[in-house]
């Protein structure tokens, strides 16, 4: 029994908790992608760099606050800076919509033209972020690092294995729940949210009912910018900020959105967790767990790692392909344009 519990603690520490936090981050990223897809009907390749932009602003404001001596111990100061990040990202996104996408909407360009435009924006944002903050790693988390420390937990329970629950992980999960609840309340209950869903369902019918398309588009961008900034900041608190990593997040985020069904918010959340859990389970080394759970003579020699962590992209990809082959519109039916 002791061994079983030890194994279980090990599993939660290295698998369940990190995967849940990572899944929440992916889900929030994928929600932004999926909403833009549902309303504007294109895959926004600039989303990863929008996240990087928002996080960059948060990091800069955090640094400013730290200099001013502002803090909300034991929580990280970055939380205070998030609203500023959201504001800056919203301005940036609305400006880019005005300069880039509005013209394409006016000439009713094909979705792929929007996609190519978003690649152009991706270049600009990527360059801008590197230009301002550089390419290096940034650690901007402060305050109490752990909710539960490894040692404390061990003492408390008398087990050999403990759980170290990082503040960033706890924050991620709590924030994700609040944000997602607020988003769904907005989409289901408010007039603006309803008009968004109507527009996404049937554009012509929505226009006929007097819904202003520009307003819907604006709200979509604001939500997408907000989600991107929050997701980016939480990811950065958890794993550190590096512009290139954020660019690479594009792949798991899109995989999550597509697996769940592009254009479907519920699907994006499910997809985020599917991708995160598969990535972590497949790349986790099970050696120690098996020494707890198996009889001693069966103890494995190797690391018992299915796939090295360097291949985590492969996991997103394989799941993506499998889902697309067997359910081409994703787990929850997405829309096809």
């Amino acid at each position: 029994m002791q061994d079983f519990l030890n194994g279980f603690m090990l599993l939660s520490n290295f698998l369940i908790v990190p995967a849940t936090a990572y899944g929440s981050q992916l889900a929030m990223g994928a929600l932004g992608v999926t909403l833009v897809y549902g309303i504007l009907r294109f895959s926004n390749f600039a989303h990863g760099d929008t996240m990087a932009f928002g996080t960059m602003v948060v990091i800069l404001v955090t640094a400013l606050f730290q200099k001013m001596g502002l803090s909300i111990e034991p929580l990280p100061t970055a939380l205070l800076a998030i609203p500023f990040g959201i504001a800056a990202t919203t301005v940036m996104v609305l400006l880019s919509d005005r300069l880039v996408y509005r013209h394409q909407r006016k000439v009713r360009a094909a979705p792929v033209v929007f996609l190519i435009s978003s690649i152009g924006l991706m270049f600009v944002l990527n360059g801008l972020v590197r230009f301002i903050i550089g390419t290096g790693d940034q650690r901007f988390g402060d305050g109490e690092r752990f909710i539960i420390r490894f040692g404390e937990f061990k003492e408390l329970t008398g087990l050999d294995e403990g759980i170290a629950f990082k503040t960033s992980q706890g924050l991620t999960i709590v924030t994700a729940i609040i944000v997602v609840a607020a988003l769904f309340w907005f989409l289901e209950r408010t007039r603006a949210g309803k008009s968004m869903r109507a527009y996404s369902d049937n554009e012509d019918l929505a226009l006929l009912s007097g819904i202003s398309p520009e307003r819907v588009v604006m709200i979509t961008w604001i939500i997408s910018a907000t989600l991107a900034t929050i997701a980016g900041t939480l990811y950065g608190l958890d794993k550190g900020f590096k512009p290139f990593t954020y660019f690479q997040l594009l792949l798991p985020i899109f995989a999550a959105a597509i697996v769940g069904g592009l254009g479907n918010p519920l699907g994006a959340i499910a997809g985020g967790f599917v991708i995160a859990f598969s990535e972590v389970t497949v790349t986790y080394a099970y050696k120690k767990l098996l020494t707890y759970w198996l009889p001693e003579s069966w103890a494995p020699e190797g690391l018992v790692q299915l796939l090295s962590t360097d291949y985590k992209f492969a996991v997103s990809f394989v799941i993506l392909v499998l889902v697309l082959l067997f359910r081409p519109t994703g787990i929850f039916a997405g829309k096809s344009v």
């Binding site: 492969a314 990809f317 697309l324």
Partner: protein, 442 residues
């Protein structure tokens, strides 16, 4: 579109001028280096144009195909490492056999078994068992190979053949992988194809970085033979010394420029051949069919065209061209460094080339390749000069000024993005639009 008939020579004249300017103001050696990379970039753009311009396939996995070309240069050009083969050859061979057997069995099971749970679980079981069996052979073998003189070799080496063969091998390798990806993803919608290709290119790079027994991974492979003569050898030659004296040039400068001219000549021949081939293809009935499929898939389907089959064909052809370009680049550089493969530089930049040049127009892709590569290289000194000018009012030790000047390198990303955005906004069909009676729908 008679206009573009005059525009093409104009564009090339402009590019020649630009390269000459670099030659005069910076150095001729740099100018020729830029020219070489421009030629390779043009070939890559040609490859993408075959996929996107002819058929409307959204491939954002070019980096992966270019890297496959790069590994072809290693596998063809490097000398084999006999100790490594002796230690791990059998294990690797057995592992490969098991992998192939697993794939074969899984496909057989898929074909033979009735649809349902039995098939799903059966295939799953075959794949899982095959995976572990293959790992059983691979793992010890790779460890042994990597332990052979790790500072120098630590990998299997290549075939030791003349490096020029690698260009063809790179094309074939890329084509093979494209076939597999195409088989799986081409039935899907365009957005899905984009994400799938983005994913596969990251996977290819991850494999090249981590499978040290094959590629030395992040330890890089240096000293890949080049198709051109070596500067040092040339300097020993009497004729080179005489020529250098005749030009009144330094012997080292002369040989370096001579070598670069050689590679430019090789690349030019390659570009010419590939351009002629693609031009012939697009003018043929096959090319008209491709455009018909691109412009109206449903109508083409109704006319009895095998749309997915044609898409697969064009996906393979385009990827092969990108693979050739990747092999050329690695063989010119003489080294294979997996960490340099960056999607912005190897995938999205090529997209900028094709869009700016004019999708669907081969000449346009070549112009785009030249232009964009030129600006990609020159944006850094230009950005530096611009920032230097803008910040000249600040004190020399101002931290802001130092930061801005340090970050000048990132100006190139912003420049590329702006070029792409301006093109798609004001000239969506590119500098040299597609020449056909029917304008594209967008």
């Amino acid at each position: 579109m008679t206009l573009s008939k005059q525009q093409a020579p104009l564009a090339f004249a402009f590019m020649a001028m630009a390269l000459i300017m670099v030659g005069i103001f910076q150095s001729w050696s740099l100018s020729l280096t830029i020219l070489n990379y421009c030629l390779i970039a043009s070939i890559m753009a040609l490859g993408l144009n075959i996929q996107w311009g002819y058929a409307g396939l959204f491939n954002v996995g070019l980096m992966g195909f270019a890297a496959l070309g790069g590994i072809a240069a290693v596998l063809v050009g490097m000398k084999p490492v006999p100790e490594a083969w002796a230690l791990g050859g059998v294990g690797i061979g057995a592992g490969l056999l098991v992998t192939l057997g697993t794939i074969f069995l899984a496909i057989t099971a898929y074909r033979r078994l009735p649809k349902g749970y039995v098939r799903g679980w059966g295939m799953g079981a075959i794949i899982v068992l095959g995976y572990f069996l293959a790992r059983y052979f691979f793992d010890p073998a790779t460890n042994q190979i990597e332990s052979v003189n790790p500072a120098q070799t630590g990998f299997l080496g290549g075939l030791g053949l003349p490096i020029i063969f690698s260009w063809g091998v790179g094309g074939v390798l890329a084509a093979g992988v494209a076939w597999v990806i195409g088989k799986v993803t081409l039935g899907l919608r365009s957005d899905y194809l984009a994400i799938a290709t983005l994913g596969i290119s990251e996977i290819i790079i991850a494999v090249l970085k981590n499978e040290e027994w094959l590629t030395r991974g992040v330890k890089n492979v240096n000293g890949i033979p080049r198709p051109m003569p070596y500067e040092y050898d040339l300097q020993q030659q009497l004729w080179a010394q005489e020529w250098a004296a005749w030009f009144g040039a330094d012997l080292q400068d002369f040989t370096s420029i001579y070598v670069k001219l050689c590679s430019a000549g090789l690349a030019l021949v390659m570009l010419g051949v590939l351009y002629w081939l693609s031009q012939t293809a697009i003018k043929s009935p096959w090319g008209r069919m491709m455009r018909a499929i691109r412009d109206n898939e449903t109508a083409a389907l109704a006319m009895g065209k095998h749309v997915t089959g044609r898409h697969l064909q064009v996906f393979i052809l385009g990827s092969a061209v990108v693979g050739i370009a990747g092999a050329m680049m690695t063989s010119f550089d003489g080294q294979f460094t997996p960490t340099t493969y960056n999607p912005l530089r190897f995938t999205f930049l090529v997209w900028v080339m094709v869009i700016v040049g004019g999708s669907g127009n081969n000449l346009g892709s070549i112009v785009g390749g030249f232009l964009i590569w030129f600006f990609w290289v020159e944006a850094e000194p230009m950005g530096y000069a611009l920032l230097n000018l803008l910040t000249s009012g600040m004190a020399d030790d101002s931290p802001l000024r130092a930061h801005l000047l340090d970050s000048a390198a990132h100006m190139r990303l912003i420049t590329m993005g702006l070029i792409l955005l301006v093109t798609i906004r004001f000239r969506p069909r590119g500098l040299l639009p597609e020449q056909s009676k029917q304008a594209r729908s967008h």
